[in-house]
Structures are given as structure tokens and as C-alpha cells.
């Protein structure tokens, strides 16, 4: 699925950017971007479906050791990196990503 065919929206770009900068969990993405969880999760689902991020469950063992449920984490894919670069370029003119980049 080539990235050029899918123009992603501004909030989705924010989410992808957060993941690219190493944020792993959904709620942390919400913290980082300042978006509502109700916006972050659908964005993550969409990015997942596009192949821009991949998700995985942390190991049961770790979770059990820490006596908490396992959490799902997200990572950017190579396709996602390309798509992010394209989207950043598209939104650059607006100068709106600076806040996130500096965060």
C-alpha cells in the first residue's frame, strides 16, 4: 500500500509523529499530543490498517511479574516513516507541527 495514495489527516499525523518519536502506548500518545483518547485510538486503528504502525502485546510474563494487565504497544513501520515525512512536508507550510516537534 503506497503512502502517497493515503493522505492522512492532521490529528493522525500528530499521532504518527508521536509514535515515531518513541511514544509506545495509546494513553501516552494522548498525553504527548494533547488529543482526546477518542481521537487517538481511531487514528491508531487507521494507521494500523494502512500499515504505517504495527502493534504488539508486551509479554504476559513481564505483565504478571509487575502484577498488572499486559499493554498493547505501537511502533512505526518503514512505510509509516515515509508517510510521516510526506505528511510533515504537507503540513509544514502551516507551521503547525513546531509545537509537537519541540515538545
Amino acid at each position: 500500500m503506497s503512502s502517497s495514495r493515503h493522505n492522512i489527516t492532521y490529528p493522525t499525523t500528530l499521532v504518527l509523529h508521536a509514535i515515531a518519536s518513541g511514544v509506545r502506548y495509546g494513553f501516552d500518545v494522548a498525553d504527548r499530543t494533547g488529543l482526546q483518547t477518542g481521537t487517538v485510538y481511531p487514528a491508531l486503528r487507521r494507521l494500523d490498517a494502512l500499515g504505517f504502525v504495527r502493534s504488539n502485546w508486551e509479554s504476559e510474563k513481564t505483565a504478571r511479574r509487575e502484577q498488572r494487565p499486559a499493554r498493547r504497544y505501537y511502533e512505526i513501520t518503514p512505510a509509516g516513516t515515509g508517510a510521516l515525512a510526506l505528511a510533515m512536508k504537507r503540513f509544514e507550510n502551516l507551521g503547525r507541527l513546531t509545537r509537537v516537534r519541540n515538545a
Partner: protein, 866 residues
């Protein structure tokens, strides 16, 4: 983790497709737990966070409806339907026939009844008749003087215009042709509110002689006879030998009062005409004023008519008015039959759809394992319902498309046959409205028969289903389906019996001896120009034509008559018998025709007593008459009519005529009408300028068309001869409406029966598939195959027989409704009822045979193990 947050996630997870549900819940609970571990000051309100689960869940749910998923459903549906070819074909065909019939009937109803008349503000147009209460004729033509009084005395009408149908020979340079040219009042076009396409319509001054010799052409005549010449305005033509000028051309689609109108001319408003109160020949069209109700207008009109009753008792005694909307006047008789057919077709379609639902239910039962597997693999209920719905819609679309094709063919065929008998049917078309109707019906039936079984089949008990293919489920609906089959059979029997009675009537009509021999006779109409005023030249002209024709080889006999039998034209007159009081209660009216000596021989009407018309009966000789047997039977109880003297018409000074012969009875109004008393006068003693010619040929009568043209042309080249028809054609044309009605009702009967058969087949197939294990057990215990076969067919007939009985009862009760169209057969004819209901049961048994054979071939071993 706070309970509220957890509850929100739980709730949201229900919206999520089941195969994603577990992950969804785990992810949200994991995040919420992690959130709870943070230092309190850094914590965002957890409930607000949890609320995000709802949009997330909705997003995941909506992905089920993505284009990709739907395409998948459609592809899967295609595969399933192609695998089940017999089922698919049966369903598509049933739907196509149902939707096709509904669409065809809708397009006809739309053209004839629904679409407004093509005139300005047609709801305010009315037609007005005289209501002759004395003779019980509520829709009698109007006398000119009465019309004048209505026009002057009423206030409710914007216009009250008049026309009378008529025609004559029109010559536009080439060969003269017969043209239908009604004479209309000068405000005729203003009343209808349609502007001309070229030139002008009539103005007031056009009605005053000698300025009345102007014509407005119809689109039809402009096309066929004037080559659509845009320069036609101002052109001079000869109409009935007089010089007329064309002043206008009407647009296509304006054809009033008949489809075949060629032109309109103004009524010459002479003082004589406006005095005529006993001459009834006008049709009156009114436009009711804005703000005046139709009731008020009718009352206004009636009050003027009542005043005339007192002022002119001799002519206007008990003469009132009848006012109907123009729409009703135009479509009148077609309304009720059309609506009845519409109701019948709606019923057929509904039965067809439910029938298909039946079949689908049977299919769904067969597919329960598949559905259970899909449910076990995580398909939620919505997804399964959607899948079945997609299949339903796909079938409905296929049925709809095929149905539109069927409708198109049917409508074109119907319009071609019915054009002369159903008003406005020539406007019928499969247009946007009709296509929208077909699409709506298709979607409606698709959803109906897709959704119901889908809901029933999508709630399988997965475990039990997978374990053993449960036996008892979905049995609730069986009772309903049995009732449905019974209803179908009742409806089918009613229609089949109706069709049988109508067909039998048609057969009876065909067997009636009409009193004349139609075969080998060619007829034509002759129209003399107006300069033939005196009797002598008219007689001379016809003598010459008949002499020339008789001399031709291949001509056996020639005659002329004013009105041919079955042609729809007939004159009547008052009969007075010398020295005999009129029998009490008998109507004094008898039919009368004028005929030449050869007429009886040409049509082979037998002379029973005395003689027919002879060559010696001319203007100078004794006035004579020939009467038919019915007249003798009714007015001469002793049977002796020859030598008696009669007088025709109300004029007491008219000469007495001596009866010189009695001829056989002729069904002049068609074989399905009774014979009326009738008198024939010698053509030379009662001269008419326009006569109809009948020629009996040795061989093919159509070969004589040229001979007749030549003979007329040689006698006088300015005379118009037209309307060449064989006598067989005339009879055929008369029978056409009856044949049409027969075809329509037979089509419906066949449809209804087919639906009933599909219905019983479906239900029985279902029952058999349900009972396979039971049948297996019974066969294992020694039941014979023939026994199973017999029993299964018996099961089917147990549904068909009550249906047939109910249908017989309904048919007997409703038969009075159709008695008017029956001929020579009782509406409760036991033979028709017996034979046809037995026939229905036989085909029902055949429809049961297929599932029954399947039942009898059940292999006990596999059946029990399954």
C-alpha cells in the same frame, strides 16, 4: 481502576465486532490500569479517558461497513447464488414475473389514469351532457340551442365550448383522403388552454360565415399529409369540395377528441343552428372558473336546464344536465378495470415475494451449518444478517432487471393490441417514473424476503447446530407458511376459474351464427362531395360503381348499405304499424338500414319469406320495406307481416311502406349482442350520399381493393373511397376487446397458478428436508418408498385442497361481478368449476412430486447418522 471507567469500556466493547472484542477490552483495561498507577497529580480524569473507548468502538464497528467488506459480501453472495443454481433461477424468475407484471400494470395505469391530461389546469375541465330522464339516457348529446342557453345563463364557467365529431374528404393537392375533422366552437382551444405550434387557433370571427372556412391541422396530419412543412400556414386545401385555408398547426400530443383527429374547423354559427333544440349532436367541454367548486358549477348548470324545461316543454321535458370531470369522461370505462388489475397484480407480487421468502427460508435451513460455522469463527449477528440481505438484494436486482425487460415487452405488446380500446394507452412508456417504481418494488421485495429469513436464521445455537444439525428449530413459521400456500391456491383457483369462464365465453361468441357470411367479403366506405345533393345523381353514381364491379371477373356479388353489420354504426327510427296499436310496453324504436338489391346476396343473408330488395324498387315505384324475423316476431304476433304497411320516423306525413319480404336475423351489433327488430329500405327509396360497399369475391377479397378504387374513380374521380376492410376484419376488430380481456385474465391466472405451485413446492421441500431423519427411521423400520412418496404428496395436497375449496367458494360468490362479460355460460358453470379445480389439483400434485421423490430416495443409513 474505578468501576465507572470499566463499565464504559465494557459497554463500548459490545459495539465491537466479536472477533476484535477481546483485544479491545484488554487494551483499554491495560491502559486504564497503567493510568491508575501514576502519581495522582499527573493523572487526567480517568472517566474522561475511558469515554474515548466509545468513539474507538464505533470506529471499529463502522469498518465492518467499509467498501472492502461490502465487496466481499457481494462476491461471496455471487458465489453462493451460482452454487445454488436451481434456487437462484427459481427466485429470480418468480421475482421477474412479479416485478415485471407490476411494472407493466403500473406503467399502463400511469399512462391512462395518473398522468394529468395534457391541457392547462386539467382539474378544472369538465364535460357536460344532457340528462334525458324521460328515456333514461344520462349522457345524451346536447342540442345547440340548449348549449347557447347554458352559455348565457351560467356564471360558473370561464368557457363552455362545443364540438361535434365529423370528417370528410381533404385534398391537399395529391389524392383526396378521408380526414377526421371535428367542428368546434371558436373558443375550443382556449378552453383546453393549449397554444398552437404554428400559426394561430380560432378567433371569434372564424365562426361567422363566410369566414368559417379555416382549418387548424393536427400534428398527425401535418406529419403524414403535409410533410411537416413549416410554410403550411396560409395554404389552401379542398375540404369536402370547398376551399379552406390552413391557419394553424397544433403540437404533437394534442389529439382531442380522438387520437386520429386530422384537423379542426369552426362550427358555422348560423341563426338556424342556434335555434335547434331537437337536434342533439354537440359534445360540451367546460372550464370551471377559479374558486368555483365542481358541485357549484353543476348546480348552476342544472338551474338553467330546469328553467328551459318550463320554457320549452315540447323539447326539453325532463331534460337536465350531467357533468363529469374531463379526466373521467376520457378514461371513464377504463378506470375500474385498471384499478382491479392493479390490485390483482399487487396481490400477485406480494404472494411472489413471500413465496420467495419461503424458498429462502428453506435454503437458509440447509445452510444452517454454514452459518453456525461462520458464527463460531467470529461473525456477529449483524454480519450474517447483512450477508443474507446482500444475497436477497442481489436476487431482487436480477429479478428487477429481468422484470423490466418483461414489462417492456408486455407493455409494447399490450399497447399495440389495446390502442383502440383503452384511452391514452398509446402514451404508455417505460420511463423514469416507471423505472423508479420498478426499482422501489425490487428493493422492497429484496429487503422483505431477505430480512425475514435472515433474522430467523441468524440466531443459531452454535453448539447444538455444530453437534448434530438440530431438528426442532424454525418450526414456528411452518404454520404461517401453510396458510400462505392455502391462500395462494385460493387466489389461483379464483383466477383460473375466471379465465376459464371468459375463455369459454369467447369460444361461445365465436360459434354464434352471425346471420351473414363474413368470409370472402371486402368492404369500403364511399364519401360523395357536397355537390351530390339531389337523389338522382347519387343513385346514378352508385349504379355505375356497382355495374362496373359486377362486370369484373372474380366478383360474385356487390351491394351497398348505409351501415355494415358489426361496424359499430347503426341508425334507429320509430316504427308505426298501420291499423295496429303499438303493443303496450314495447319500445317503438327499431333499427333501420337502406340497402341495394345485391346486399342480401353479398352477405348471404337469407330471404325467408317474400322477396328482398329488387331492381324495380326505385323512387317512382311503390314504397316498400323488408323486415327481419325479429321484427315480425315482436310486432306481428300472428306471424303475418307481408303486405302490412309500416311507417318509419315520427313524421305523420311520411309515406306508408308495404312489407314485401322477411330476411334472416343478423347480429348487427356483433355476435355477442342480441338481435334487434330491424327494417331495410331500398337504397333508391331512401337515398344517402355516403354508403358502404360490400363485394363478395370468388377468391381472396383483398385482391379486389384495386378493382373498387378503379370502379369508383371511373365513375367519378373526385369521390373519396376509404376504409378498406374485409368483413372478417370488421368482426375481428369487434371481438378484439373481448380477446384482450381474455388474454389479460389468462395471463394473471397462469401467473397465480405458477406462484401457487412454487409455493407448495417450497413448503414441501422444506418439510421434507426437516423430516429426513424421521423418514430415515421409518424406512429403516420397513416403510416402502412408494408409501413415503404417496404420503408426501398427500401432505402437499392437504394444503392445496382447502385452498381450492376456498377458491371455489370465492369464485362462486364473486362470479356476479364478471357476469357482464360472460357469454353463453353461467357464472357458476359446474363444468368449468369442476374441471378447472381438478386440473389445479393435478398440477399441484405434480409440483409435490419432486420433493416427494426426494423424500422417497432418502438413504436410511445416512439419514439416521446425520
Amino acid at each position: 481502576m474505578p468501576d465507572l471507567s470499566r463499565a464504559i469500556v465494557r459497554f463500548a466493547s459490545r459495539l465491537v465486532p466479536s472477533y476484535l472484542r477481546r483485544d479491545f477490552r484488554d487494551e483499554w483495561e491495560g491502559e486504564l490500569w497503567a493510568d491508575g498507577q501514576r502519581p495522582p497529580d499527573n493523572r487526567v480524569r480517568p472517566v474522561r479517558r475511558a469515554l474515548g473507548a466509545i468513539p474507538d468502538a464505533l470506529f471499529l464497528a463502522s469498518r465492518q461497513w467499509s467498501v472492502d467488506m461490502l465487496t466481499q459480501d457481494v462476491r461471496y453472495a455471487f458465489r453462493v447464488l451460482l452454487q445454488r443454481r436451481a434456487y437462484t433461477a427459481l427466485v429470480v424468475l418468480t421475482l421477474a414475473v412479479g416485478i415485471g407484471a407490476a411494472t407493466a400494470v403500473f406503467s399502463a395505469i400511469d399512462a391512462v389514469l395518473l398522468r394529468p391530461l395534457p391541457y392547462r389546469d386539467p382539474s378544472r375541465l369538465v364535460q357536460v351532457f344532457e340528462n334525458d330522464r324521460l328515456n333514461h339516457k344520462p349522457r345524451y348529446p346536447v342540442a345547440p340551442a340548449n348549449w347557447e342557453d347554458w352559455r348565457a345563463g351560467t356564471h360558473a364557467f370561464e368557457h363552455l365550448t362545443a364540438f361535434s365529431e365529423g370528417g370528410g374528404s381533404l385534398s391537399a393537392g395529391a389524392e383526396p383522403f378521408h380526414a377526421n375533422v371535428p367542428a368546434v366552437a371558436t373558443d375550443f382551444f382556449d378552453t383546453l388552454g393549449v397554444p398552437p405550434r404554428l400559426g394561430r387557433t380560432f378567433v371569434r370571427a372564424d365562426g361567422v360565415p363566410p369566414h368559417h372556412r379555416v382549418l387548424v391541422l393536427s400534428d398527425r396530419a401535418w406529419r403524414h399529409h403535409f410533410g411537416q412543412d413549416p410554410q403550411v400556414i396560409g395554404r389552401r386545401v379542398a375540404f369536402n369540395g370547398s376551399d379552406y385555408q390552413i391557419v394553424g398547426v397544433m403540437p404533437a400530443g394534442f389529439a382531442f377528441p380522438t387520437r386520429e383527429v386530422d384537423a379542426w374547423r369552426p362550427v358555422a354559427e348560423t341563426p338556424d343552428l342556434s335555434q335547434a333544440r331537437a337536434l342533439h349532436f354537440l359534445a360540451i367541454i367546460g372550464r370551471v372558473r377559479q374558486g368555483v367548486s365542481l358541485q357549484q358549477a353543476a348546480a348552476d348548470l342544472e338551474s338553467v336546464a330546469v328553467a328551459d324545461q318550463h320554457r320549452y316543454p315540447a323539447t326539453n321535458d325532463q331534460r337536465g344536465t350531467t357533468m363529469v370531470s374531463l379526466g373521467e369522461a376520457v378514461t371513464g370505462g377504463a378506470r375500474l378495470p385498471m384499478l382491479l388489475i392493479g390490485a390483482a397484480v399487487a396481490l400477485l407480487l406480494a404472494i411472489g415475494a413471500v413465496n420467495v421468502a419461503n424458498l429462502t427460508l428453506v435454503e437458509a435451513t440447509a445452510r444452517r451449518r454454514e452459518i453456525a460455522v461462520r458464527a463460531a469463527l467470529g461473525a456477529n449477528r449483524l454480519r450474517i444478517v447483512r450477508q443474507l440481505l446482500v444475497e436477497g438484494l442481489l436476487l431482487a436486482c436480477a429479478g428487477g432487471l429481468l422484470g423490466i425487460v418483461i414489462a417492456r415487452v408486455a407493455v409494447q405488446a399490450f399497447a399495440r393490441i389495446a390502442v383502440d380500446y383503452v384511452p391514452r394507452i398509446d402514451h404508455v412508456a417505460i420511463d423514469g417514473r416507471v423505472l423508479a417504481f420498478a426499482a422501489l418494488v425490487s428493493l422492497g421485495t429484496g429487503v422483505l424476503f431477505g430480512l425475514v429469513p435472515a433474522l430467523a436464521a441468524s440466531r443459531p445455537d452454535v453448539q447444538q447446530e455444530l453437534r448434530e444439525g438440530a431438528r426442532g428449530a424454525v418450526r414456528r413459521s411452518r404454520g404461517i407458511r401453510s396458510v400462505l400456500v392455502i391462500v395462494e391456491f385460493a387466489a389461483a383457483v379464483v383466477l383460473v376459474i375466471g379465465a376459464g369462464l371468459v375463455a369459454r365465453s369467447f369460444w361461445n361468441v365465436l360459434r354464434v351464427q352471425p346471420g351473414f357470411a363474413a368470409s370472402h367479403v371486402l368492404t369500403a366506405s364511399i364519401e360523395l362531395p357536397p355537390r351530390y345533393e339531389d337523389d338522382a345523381p347519387i343513385v346514378q353514381f352508385y349504379d355505375r360503381v356497382m355495374a362496373r364491379l359486377s362486370a369484373r371477373s372474380g366478383v360474385r356479388a356487390v351491394g351497398i348499405v348505409n351501415n355494415l353489420p358489426v361496424s359499430g354504426n347503426a341508425w334507429t327510427s320509430w316504427l308505426t304499424i298501420e291499423n295496429a296499436p303499438r303493443p303496450a310496453g314495447e319500445p317503438p324504436e327499431v333499427g333501420y338500414r337502406t340497402a341495394s338489391p345485391g346486399y342480401f346476396a353479398t352477405l348471404e343473408i337469407p330471404v325467408i319469406e317474400g322477396r328482398g330488395v329488387s331492381d324495380a324498387d326505385n323512387a317512382a315505384s311503390l314504397k316498400v320495406a323488408v323486415v327481419n324475423r325479429a321484427l315480425v316476431q315482436r310486432f306481428f304476433p300472428n306471424g303475418h307481416a307481408i303486405g302490412a304497411r309500416i311507417r318509419l320516423g315520427p313524421n305523420p306525413k311520411a309515406p306508408w311502406r308495404t312489407i314485401v319480404g322477411v330476411v334472416g336475423d343478423v347480429h348487427h351489433d356483433g355476435p355477442d349482442s342480441p338481435v334487434d327488430p330491424e327494417a331495410f329500405l331500398p337504397a333508391e327509396q331512401d337515398v344517402n350520399s355516403d354508403m358502404q360497399l360490400a363485394v363478395r369475391a370468388d377468391g381472396d377479397p383483398e385482391a379486389l381493393v384495386g378493382a373498387i378504387r378503379e370502379a369508383v374513380h371511373e365513375a367519378d374521380p373526385t369521390v373519396t373511397v376509404w376504409q378498406f376492410r374485409t368483413m372478417d376484419d370488421i368482426v375481428d376488430e369487434h371481438l378484439a376487446p373481448r380477446r384482450l380481456a381474455m388474454l389479460v385474465i389468462e395471463a394473471f391466472a397462469v401467473l397465480a397458478l405458477a406462484l401457487a405451485l412454487v409455493g407448495i413446492y417450497g413448503v414441501l421441500s422444506y418439510t421434507v428436508s426437516q423430516r429426513v431423519p424421521e423418514i430415515g427411521v421409518r424406512m429403516a423400520l420397513g416403510a416402502q418408498r412408494t408409501e413415503i412418496l404417496r404420503q408426501t404428496i398427500g401432505d402437499g395436497l392437504r394444503l392445496a385442497i382447502p385452498g381450492v375449496v376456498i377458491g371455489l367458494a370465492i369464485a362462486a360468490a364473486a362470479s356476479r361481478l364478471v357476469s357482464a362479460v360472460l357469454f353463453g355460460v353461467s357464472p357458476t358453470d359446474p363444468l368449468a368449476y369442476g374441471v378447472l379445480s381438478a386440473g389445479v389439483l393435478v398440477v399441484a400434485a405434480l409440483a409435490c412430486y419432486l420433493p416427494a421423490r426426494r423424500a422417497s430416495r432418502v438413504d436410511p443409513l445416512t439419514a439416521i447418522r446425520a
